[in-house]
Structure formats: C-alpha cells, structure tokens
C-alpha cells in the first residue's frame, strides 16, 4: 500500500513537472525513406537541425519546441495514419510535412477536418488551389517553373520546343502544366517524348526530337537519374540546341551526375540557395541562404538541396506564426500564419493572404545556367 502511494506521488510529481515545462509540439510526417527519400531525407534533417538550434536559443517565447517526426516512406496511407496519430495521440499544435503531393493530400484531409495548421512541402498547385483554411505550402508550383522557363525562352526568341518528360509523378505533372501555359507565351510544343524513371538510355527519344522540323530548344521536366542521363545523351548526340531542365534537379549533385562537360550550358529555374556563394551582397535572401547552407553542411557534411530549403522555410513560417500568436492554440497559429508578411526564406519571400496560401511569385525563381561546372545566374 505504501509502495503504491509513493509510486502515485512520484507519478503525480512527474505529471506536474511536465505540465510546468509545457512544450510546443510540432508534428511532421516526411518521406525520409522510400522512393521520395531524396526529398524527405534533407527535409527531416533540416527540421531536426532547426529544432535543436531554436531550443539552444531558448525556444519560442521561452518555451521549448518538441518535434514529433514520422517517416511515411512516401506512402499516402501511412501519411494519413501518422497525421491522425499526430493530431489525436501526440496532440501537436501544427504539422509540417508531406514531401510528395500524394502524402500531402492525405495529411491535408486530416489537418483540415481537425483544424490544425499544416504547411506542405510538395509541389502541386492543387494543394493550395482552391484555398483551404488550414493548409499552406512553401515550394513554388510546377506551373510557376514552366512560366519561368517559358519567359526565358521568349526572351531568347524561342517559339518551337521539344519536350522529353519522365513518366513519374513529378515529370507527368510538370509536363501537363507546361502544356497548359505554353500558349500564353506563344510557344508551340512540336515534339513530345517520355521515358520511364529508371531508363538507362534516352538517345532514341532525343534523336526523334532532334530530327523534328523547327525545334529550337528542348525542355526536360523530371527528377532523379532521368535528367542526368538525358543531359549526357544530349552531349553524346552532339545536339546544339539549348537544353532546359526543371527545378526538380536543382542541386550540385546534378552537375556531378551529368558530368560538368555534358551539363555545360544547361538552364533551369532554381532558388537562391543554389547560388548562395555568388549571390550579391544586399540581396534580401543573402543572409538566410548563407546561414542555412553553412549550418546544414557543417552538421551533416553533405550539400544542401532545394528540398531541405522548403522544410527550412516551413519551419521559419510556422515558428514565426507561433511566436506572434503567443500561444499554442492551433486556431490562433493559423490566423498568425495567414498574416505572415514578407518573411524571407531560402525559396523566396513569403506573404500570405486569405486567398493566397503559397505567397510566392515568379521572382522567387532565378534562371540559372551551368558554366564550367558552376551555377551562374542569368536573369
């Protein structure tokens, strides 16, 4: 009997102790393994690093942040389970996550019905169009990438292009968006080819595009090894038309995989993070991208990627909103989040409003070109 009482007392003391050190709980479900690991892995590492950094500085308004992180492996069903668990068992105040559009759509449904603010790290425009009360996102959309590329083509007098796209989700979605907006830039897509994500050789497709009449440039929406192989086959065939890649391969790793010789002259829309070293002083993003790049590369010994940058921005947006709300009430955090005005992230400068939950415009993208194995801004 005595023992039980002591145990009870201890438990109660513990309970009180926890309550006194109330923590702000931040939930995340990312694809740190599986097919989308190249997205989720840097994202998860970024969140863990930033939480550590923030707590070392004393947390938000004196309260520590606790990160509850799950790995959904890119599976929408798991993402849904984890989202429910985050809300019901872990009782988090906000959720960051959804590395892919598929997992985002699962988490989004839970967040929206439970009234928990949620920032997605996935690309598709459907996430924020139509606007959902509790759902925000940090990456620019495929559509914006297409628009940025077509603006650059228009500037260079290109009107007829060939497209070679991956058949994976990213490639297919961007291909559709590009076809949709091409007309607005007076660009005609005269040749259209595809490849499967693990194909080893794309010379037949490129030979076909090359021999199509009037092609002035080639655009390759895709991510993973496909674009690197396309770029190498491009050099192998000696095609002398401009080659445009997508933001899906905006990382130093791409230059390495394709080889600096083959990648020479490739253009793509990327973020300030990629050119952190050469960005001009006085650029509003200079400090943010340099600090993040330095911290990440020191901690993990690997290059930063655009995708980790999405998580960085989501974290800054969410913690900024929690700080301004001055509470961990989901409803109040949401209102503060929507009122975000001019937050400078690695991807761009975010200004949310009631009818814009992405908060970026085309200026967030920078047109980059690879010269001598380095990124150069050509805006």
């Amino acid at each position: 009997m005595k023992v039980t009482t002591t145990a009870l007392a201890t438990l109660m003391a513990l309970g009180i102790a926890t309550a006194a050190h109330a923590e702000i709980k931040l939930g995340a479900s990312l694809s740190a393994s599986g097919g989308a690991a190249f997205l989720g892995d840097p994202e998860a590492k970024t969140l863990e690093m930033l939480v550590e950094e923030l707590n070392a500085k004393g947390g938000i308004n004196g309260e520590k942040v606790e990160l509850v992180l799950y790995d959904d492996g890119g599976d929408p069903n798991k993402a849904r389970t984890f989202a429910t668990r985050l809300v019901e068992d872990d009782e988090v105040s906000a959720i960051i996550g959804g590395s892919t559009t598929g997992t985002t759509m699962s988490i989004l449904a839970v967040a929206e019905s439970e009234g928990i603010p949620f920032i997605s790290l996935a690309g598709a425009i459907q996430i924020i169009d139509p606007v959902r009360q509790f759902v925000f996102k940090t990456p620019h959309t495929d559509r914006m990438a297409c628009e940025k590329i077509f603006t650059d083509m228009q500037k260079n007098g290109i009107t007829k292009i060939g497209m070679i796209s991956g058949t994976d989700g990213f490639g297919a979605s961007m291909e559709a968006q590009c076809k949709d907006v091409a007309g607005g830039y007076e660009i005609e897509i005269v040749a259209q080819e595809t490849y499967a994500p693990q194909d080893a050789d794309m010379t037949p497709q490129l030979t076909k595009i090359k021999s199509t009449d009037g092609v002035q440039a080639i655009l390759n929406p895709g991510f993973g090894q496909g674009p690197a192989i396309v770029t190498r086959n491009y050099a192998q065939l000696g095609i002398d038309l401009p080659l445009y890649q997508s933001h899906g391969v905006a990382s130093d790793g791409f230059i390495e995989l394709a080889g600096p010789d083959a990648a020479e002259g490739v253009r793509l829309p990327g973020t300030a993070l990629l050119i952190a070293d050469i960005i001009e002083d006085g650029d509003p993003q200079k400090d943010v991208v340099s600090a993040y790049k330095a911290a990440y590369e020191e901690k993990y010994g690997e290059d930063v990627s655009t995708f980790g940058g999405y998580a960085h921005d989501a974290f800054k947006l969410m913690t900024g909103a929690i700080e301004r709300a001055g509470s961990d009430d989901p409803e109040e955090i949401r209102d503060a989040l929507e009122a975000t005005d001019g937050l400078v992230g690695t991807t761009g400068t975010y200004t949310f409003s009631a009818d814009d939950h992405l908060g970026l415009d085309l200026s967030a993208f920078r047109m980059l070109e690879i010269r001598d194995g380095e990124w150069v801004s050509v805006d």
């Binding site: 080819e193 994500p197 080893a200 050789d201 010379t203 192998q236 000696g238 995989l257 080889g259």
Partner: protein, 290 residues
C-alpha cells in the same frame, strides 16, 4: 539511316544491361529452380560498394574487386541463413524468401550507404564513338563486352566443367546427385556466390551508364527477369538473347512508334512469345512425369 543506327546502338546498350542482370539469374535457377528476386540487389550492391570504395580513394579495379568479393559473401550468407534453413520447402516459398531478402538488403543499404544517386567515371572516357552517323559511348562497349564475356564463361562452365555439370545435376534431382557423390550443399553455396559475383560485376559495368542508388535493384531485376523469361530461364544463351532483344524492342518502339508505348510493346512481344513458346526462346522443354 543515321536515326536507325542510333536506335540500334541504344537498344544494344540497354539490352546488354538487361542481359547482364538476366545472366545472374541463371546459376541459382539452374542449381535450385529458384528465381532469385534479390538478384537486382546484388547488382545494386556491386555498384554502391564500388562507388564508396572508389570515393574513399581506392583505384577503380581494386574497388570493383572488393565489391564483387563482398557481394559474393552476401550471396553465400543469403544461402546459409535464409535458403538452407528452409531446405525442403517448396520452390515458391524459397522465391518468397528471396523477395524478403531483397527488401532487407535494400533497407540495410540505405542505412549503411545513403539515399543519394551516385555515378562512377566511365572506364574509357566519355568521348562518343561515331559509327555510320550515329554515336556510341565507350562504356556501352564495356557493357556489351561484359555481357558476352560472362555468357561465354557461363556456357563453358555448364558444358565443359565437372562442377558446372554438378550444378545442373543438383537442380535435376538433389537426392540422385547426392547418391553419385555430389556435395549438393557446396553446389548451392557456390551457385549463390557466383550469381552474386556476376550481379556485382554487372553493377560495376552498368553504373557509369545507369547511375546507382540503393533502390535501383527492383527495376533492374524486373527487366532482367523479363529478359530471362523471354530467352528461356536458366539458359545463358537465352539470357543474352532475351536481354538484347528486349532492349532493341524498346529502342525501336521509342524511335518509330512512340516512347509512350515502348514498355507496353516490349511486354506484349514477351507475352506473345511466351504464348507460343512457354519455355522461352532457348529454354529446355520440361516433361513432367506423372
């Protein structure tokens, strides 16, 4: 004509990759009737270990040799700890065990290595060779040469050596093989080691072209399996021919019909062939005794 040659070169390059993977299936299949679905993982391990050893500063041939030896060791371990304890189980059970092993190897490699894509430098540079108006990378010749070399070695092994015949005898009837003095346990160990080594060698050869990451094994195994089925499972000649044909179908379809349909056309051709010749192009006809 230029375009046609380019399609042929592309088909041969991709086909040789498939053939290399398909050749790896033959030994284990011949020894035990088991289709080893972890074969793609052996290819991945060959590529990954070589990349990491090479990045650590070892010369490429040494890095490749280390990768082949380690992968062969993993093949032996797979036999020892997963296949042997289940001896006597139906073949289907053993095949499912290999699927489990492939998931385990994939999961372990993403922890041991990383989740990024890697490449190796091409063995003889990246300057394309111009033939009849089309281009071919020197690495393609390495892959095609590797596939032909392994094919010849396997063919000699199965037809000219006692050990090769012992492997075939073990597959045919394990008990009878034991009765004539064949150490069937050793034959099984050997066949897993050789299959894994061939897979790893394939990984080393194809990595400069296809790139490698921890999850490339599934896709490679699937295409290699299709190639082996087309050519006739268990026959090295079939693996080589099946791989090259599959690659050529894909390249020619992408070139003359549409890249959207290239996989569909290739698989329809495979189905059609199997419909007429269920044992594949070069497979031995099986007679079931009732």
């Amino acid at each position: 004509m230029d375009a046609f040659m380019q399609f042929i070169f592309s088909g041969l390059t991709v086909g040789a990759v498939y053939a290399l993977v398909a050749l790896g299936f033959t030994i284990i299949y011949n020894a035990s009737d088991v289709v080893n679905f972890a074969q793609g993982e052996f290819v991945m391990l060959g590529g990954m270990i070589t990349v990491f050893a090479f990045d650590a500063g070892l010369p490429l041939p040494l890095a490749a040799a280390i990768a082949i030896v380690i992968t062969a060791g993993i093949g032996v371990a797979l036999n020892k700890f997963a296949i042997e304890p289940a001896r006597g189980a139906p073949v289907v059970t053993l095949i499912i065990i290999t699927i489990g092993a492939s998931i385990l190897i994939r999961g372990a490699s993403q922890v041991v290595f990383d989740k990024q894509l890697h490449r190796l430098p091409a063995f003889s540079g990246d300057d394309p060779i111009h033939v009849l108006g089309a281009t071919l990378l020197p690495q393609s010749l390495w892959v095609i040469g590797g596939a032909i070399g392994i094919f010849i070695a396997l063919w000699l092994f199965f037809t000219r050596t006692l050990l090769g015949k012992a492997v075939l005898a073990t597959a045919n009837n394990r008990l009878a093989a034991q009765l004539v003095g064949i150490n069937t346990g050793f034959v099984m160990t050997l066949s897993f080691a050789l299959s894994a080594a061939i897979g790893a060698l394939a990984g080393v050869l194809v990595t400069p072209i296809t790139l490698v990451s921890y999850d490339v094994g599934v896709g490679l195994a699937l295409k290699g399996f299709a190639a082996a089925m087309l050519g006739g499972m268990g026959n090295p000649k079939g693996a080589l021919a099946g791989g090259l044909l599959l690659g050529l179908f894909e390249a020619l379809t992408a070139g003359y019909i549409s890249s959207q349909y290239k996989e569909a056309v290739a698989f329809i051709v495979i189905l059609a062939v199997l419909f007429v010749m269920p044992q594949g192009l070069f497979g031995a006809k099986k007679t079931e005794r009732v």
